[in-house]
Amino acid sequence: MTRQSSRITPVVLTLLSYTIIGLLIVLPVVLILHEALRQGLHTALETLKDPEARSSIRLTACVTAIVTVINTAGGVAAAWTLTKYDFRGARLLVSLIELPISVSPVIAGLVWLLLFGRQGWWGNWLGHHGLHIAFAVPGIILATLFVTFPYVARTLMPYMEQQGRAAEETAFLLGAGFWKTLIHVTLPDAGWALLSGVLLTTARAMGEFGAVAVISGHIPGVTETMPLHIETLYNGYQSVAAFAMAALLVLVAMTTVLIRMFLERSFRKQHP
């Protein structure tokens, strides 16, 4: 190859990849904002004030909060257990924790129906006692828990592994017990990684569609989360309302991506 062509190649390849990114990733995002604002910002905001829209936003916020808290607690416990102790079966536990990533969201909804649905193991019994999990909010929470299960543990584990155990052992020898060591020593140091994992969990929990679609029963105003409500609006040809809600979710998603990127960068600067 000649010298000249080797200088042109980078420019050509860069232009090519930026074009692809533009068409494949940026354009859909631009389209969402464009569709949402087609009748002006005011109309878009009005659609978000609709009672059903507001109820879906409330439900999503509530489900996301509960799911994030539970999976953060579990993820921290698992990451700590797997990195600070030696025990048999640790690898099996890691595989189990990573399993939900490869499970189709629809299956993540289905498995809970098999437990709590009408034909499920405990669905009828619980129904007789007035407890409704499938086609109700608890089912939505369970499905979302399954889908967002691995993220906190997976972001924390590499960091905690690299932390080593000397700080924890020091704290222990200085008299700190399990909780004090975890809360005062380990977690403040792993703060960046923890926050990054929590953000990822939040983002995925807010946007979960397939798993929730299977188990929620789609009752408008009751068990309709934001993504489900988007489907209802879109299929009902309420394009502006659908895209307005979509834009809201996209903005939150982009914010989390940006924060995580910033976190990772300052983290890398701290630990070169």
Partner: protein
């Protein structure tokens, strides 16, 4: 605080490989002990075991006559300093030092002002009173080391365990900190155990040296005993430059294979043996043999180095005298100050400590 280990064995996690093999060791109250040995000898493992950080172990470990795990951590009175200091990165120096007091159960925790006073006191002790609000990342290696020490001392331990405390420091700082540490040990009536791979450092600071090899204690004694009566060739070689001369013991004499080296009287069973000797214990018998001597350019601490060339080998000796040219011709070598070891003792298996 006294420590007793008996038949103490520690295994590697999930295997039957022994990291510590049948350790027996007694550390008296107020002793200053150094664990020395090459890397992989099990020094740090033993130190961690004494701190109660052993995972797969069996045998006896008593602190002041009581099994270590019978006492809650806060009551054990052990201060531990890790090799890399393990300072809490997100806490200031003051909070690092106060940590052991901050986590005490409320009933026993001193009030804020008392903790504050104690921290100030310790900062003065480590001569860093101006760094209370600094973070560990902003400190030099020597400063971090002292902060880690202050943190370990805050709860008033009587036993201080230090893992390679001078490892990451530059030579000048090392010597200062060593003196300071010894002084601290004496003033505060501590029992101190430290791990180091540097035997000179150990001899400088500690009363007793415990020489370890492959998970076992080879010899535990003070520096002069170790020098005068090393129990195995390993101890001898570990403690300094050593020359080796194979030969045989025959009717009350050690006869080196090398004929330029003079035989000398030695009481022991007949058989193959090896003489181990330090270069500065070698002497010359001028005019008694065929070996020649060349002067080496090194001259330090008033000592001269000479290269001795025999028919079979060449080696170096050290002596305070400046030899004249006549003294450097036709010499025979006197190694009668050396130690004789039989092959059994020189094998991989060191003898069990008494």
């Amino acid at each position: 605080m006294s420590i007793t280990l008996e038949a103490f064995t520690q295994y590697a996690p999930r295997s039957s490989r022994k990291l510590l093999d049948n350790i027996a060791l007694t550390v008296e109250d107020r002793a200053f002990v150094a664990l020395v040995g090459p890397s992989g000898a099990g020094k740090t493992t033993l130190l961690r075991a004494i701190a109660g950080l052993s995972s797969h172990s069996e045998g006896t470990l008593l602190i002041d006559g009581l099994p270590i795990h019978d006492r809650p951590v806060q009551d054990r009175g052990i201060g531990f300093v890790f090799q890399n200091y393990a300072l809490f990165r997100h806490m200031t120096v003051a909070r690092n030092i106060a940590f052991g007091l901050d986590v005490l159960p409320r009933a026993r925790r001193p009030d804020r002002a008392a903790i504050q006073r104690r921290v100030t006191e310790l900062l003065d002790l480590i001569q860093l009173p101006h760094l209370a609000k600094a973070y560990p990342d902003q400190l030099s290696g020597g400063q971090r080391q002292r902060v880690a020490l202050a943190r370990a001392l805050a709860t008033g331990p009587r036993l201080l365990l230090l893992d390679e405390p001078f490892g990451a420091l530059d030579p000048l700082v090392r010597r200062d900190i060593r003196r300071w540490l010894r002084d601290l040990h004496d003033r505060m009536n501590l029992t101190t155990i430290l791990v180091t791979h540097d035997h000179e450092e150990a001899m400088d600071v500690a009363d007793t040296l415990v020489v370890m090899q492959e998970g076992r204690i080879v010899q535990a004694a003070d520096a002069s005993t170790l020098n005068a009566a090393p129990q195995t060739p390993f101890v001898m070689e570990f403690l300094g430059e050593t020359l080796k001369f194979p030969g045989t013991v025959r009717s009350g004499q050690f006869v080196p294979d090398n004929t330029d080296i003079a035989p000398f009287p030695f009481e022991g069973p007949d058989g193959d043996a090896t003489a181990f000797i330090r270069p500065h214990d070698v002497f010359l018998l001028p005019g008694a043999g065929q070996a020649s001597v060349e002067k080496r350019p090194h001259f330090s601490n008033g000592l001269f180095r000479y290269q001795i060339v025999t028919a079979e080998a060449a080696f170096e000796m050290i002596t305070p005298t400046d030899l004249s040219p006549q003294e450097m011709q036709n010499v025979r070598v006197d190694i009668s100050r050396g130690k004789i070891f039989y092959p059994a003792a020189a094998s991989e298996d060191p003898p069990k400590p008494a």
